[in-house]
């Protein structure tokens, strides 16, 4: 399964890179250096700049080594994996719509990609009921991804309840970090 996923991701990334090359206009051709054979050659005249244009490198192997680069590129929204919630709330706030849409797009474009969504709660109340509440959060993200075109087989939504807090504090600041859903891609869990 893992090998298939990597191959799929690699193929998808290659295709993306090739597409990028073909649509980007080629850089202007630099004039080739020509030897001056005119009379008086050999005498130093006006000095000429020595030019060597850098080579634009296309590396098809990098993507194979690291198919999920986009998922970890800090400048890519796909590297954002956490959705935070208000107290006793389970709906994805507007500020996280872009994040969920980006992951939905990635899942659509990479049918072999799979994710685990872990729902979490703050520490207050019953551990088992909190497993239920965390599940309600992760189910909500899953439902949104499905509406945006991801496939059921790509997504597992689970709950960690209150067991894996991001912050150990006992105040609203800590609790607000713990009420969250985390998205993990296959290979990350």
């Amino acid at each position: 399964m893992r090998a298939t996923l990597i191959a799929t991701l690699a193929a998808a990334s290659c295709a993306a890179l090739l597409a990028a090359c073909s649509t980007t206009p080629p850089p202007e051709q630099a004039p080739a250096g020509v030897e001056d054979r005119s009379p008086g050659a050999g005498k130093p005249g006006a000095s000429q700049p020595v030019e060597q244009k850098p080579i634009a490198s296309v590396d098809l192997t990098a993507s194979r080594q690291d198919p999920g680069a986009a998922l970890r590129d800090p400048s890519n929204i796909l590297s954002k994996r956490s959705i935070y919630y208000d107290y006793d709330k389970f709906d994805v706030r507007d500020e996280y719509r872009g994040l969920v849409e980006a992951h939905a797009k990635y899942l659509r474009e990479n049918p072999g990609a799979k994710i685990l969504i872990q729902g979490n709660t703050d520490e207050r109340g019953s551990r088992e009921y909190n497993v239920g509440l965390g599940q309600r959060r992760s189910d909500g993200v899953k439902r949104m991804l499905l509406l945006l075109g991801a496939k059921e087989s790509q997504i597992e939504s689970v709950s960690l309840g209150e067991e894996k807090p991001q912050s150990e504090g006992r105040d609203e600041e800590a609790w607000s970090k713990n009420r969250r859903s985390d998205i993990l891609y296959s290979g990350e869990y």
Binding site: L116, Q118, R124, G125, S126, R127, E128, Y129, V131, G132, L133, G134, Q135, R136, D139, E156, S157, V158, S159, L160, G161, E163, K164, L184, Y189
Partner: protein, 429 residues
Amino acid sequence: MLARLSLLLGAALLAWLPAWQPEARAQLSIEITGAGAQRIPIAIVPFAGEAALGPGLSAIVRADLERSGLFRGLEVPPLIPHPTEASSVNYAEWRSRLADALVLGSVATRPDGRFEVRFRLFDTVKQVALGGIAYTLSKEQVRATAHRIADFVYEKLTGERGVFSTRIAYVVKRGNRYELQIADADGAGAETALASFEPIISPAWSPDGRRLAYVSFENKKPVVYVHSLTDGKRHVAANFKGSNSAPAWSPDGARLAVSLSREGGSQIFLINPDGAGLRRITSSSAIDTEPRYSPDGRSIYFTSDRGGSPQIYRMGASGGEPQRVTFEGGYNVSPRISPDGRTLAYITRNGGRFQVALLDLANRQVQILTDSDRDESPSFAPNGRMILHATVLGGRGVLSAVSADGRVKQRLSATAGDVREPAWGPFIE
């Protein structure tokens, strides 16, 4: 004596006792923070020759009985000649020492190197012997023997079965390490059944006390395992897509009720402990979790927020229309039915504090039993007398026990780390 005890229990005062120090190897220490105001005064004379056993046999018996909150052990000065279970008892002398009950015993070394303990219990008020037992044991069985003696005394004098020989399971968290431990009911002799770097919650004893079901997060999601305590073998009982949680044994041990999210949401299913025979028994768009069988196996109590807030409901053991059980308050969770099926312990949110509540199922009276504010996971002792639960004290997770009448309180804490998720095991036959 029985009638007298009932009268004594009618008094409603809290007495404070000094902490009792357990032996050094104990990983949990126990502190009695409240007891019945009137307790049966009992003289437990050190058993003749008990020094040969190492740890003080009679001291463990006394500590057990005192911890129940129903007994007060009397100091006994050195007696010459030292009486044994075979001695004739001068009842007037023990009455003058204010003892209502008396335990005498002796320890003898057998030719095979093992020991024989004999004891006899006397009612000094009625001036009769109430019986006695002889045990053969090795040195490693001193604690177990003391607990059996305490059970015998407790049952003879109170009319209900003692729980000193039972065990408790709980989870200790130290740093990022989680240990599922089993200890004697007094917190001594703790052994680790499972150690993990991922959380473990909701241990549940099989009715025969040989296995534990629990939820482990070792696969980055909740999965229900069944773990044999004698050989350490464990297997997955429920690992479906989504979350698998909240296991509860049917009284005959043939089935587990669990909460699964495999069909969306959290719904209650039945499954055989080996993972076969899955069947869904709730059908709601709500969270249905924390199932618990009634002792007769006919009903399942569970937590559901189908009415808008988490409340406790009851349904037939194979499903059916649930009836709401709790009505007071906006957060009532973690139902635990008493062994006699007459009362329901649960956690209620009471003005922002989470406390242990007890509902009388016949007259609907609710009593809040604790004055702490972060209580979780109540668990009845198999005789129904005490309710063990988790709470937080000084920022650390500790276990606490409160009597079903709210008067007797004990606290068990580890020397380091958080203790949580207690489950009191069944009587061992």
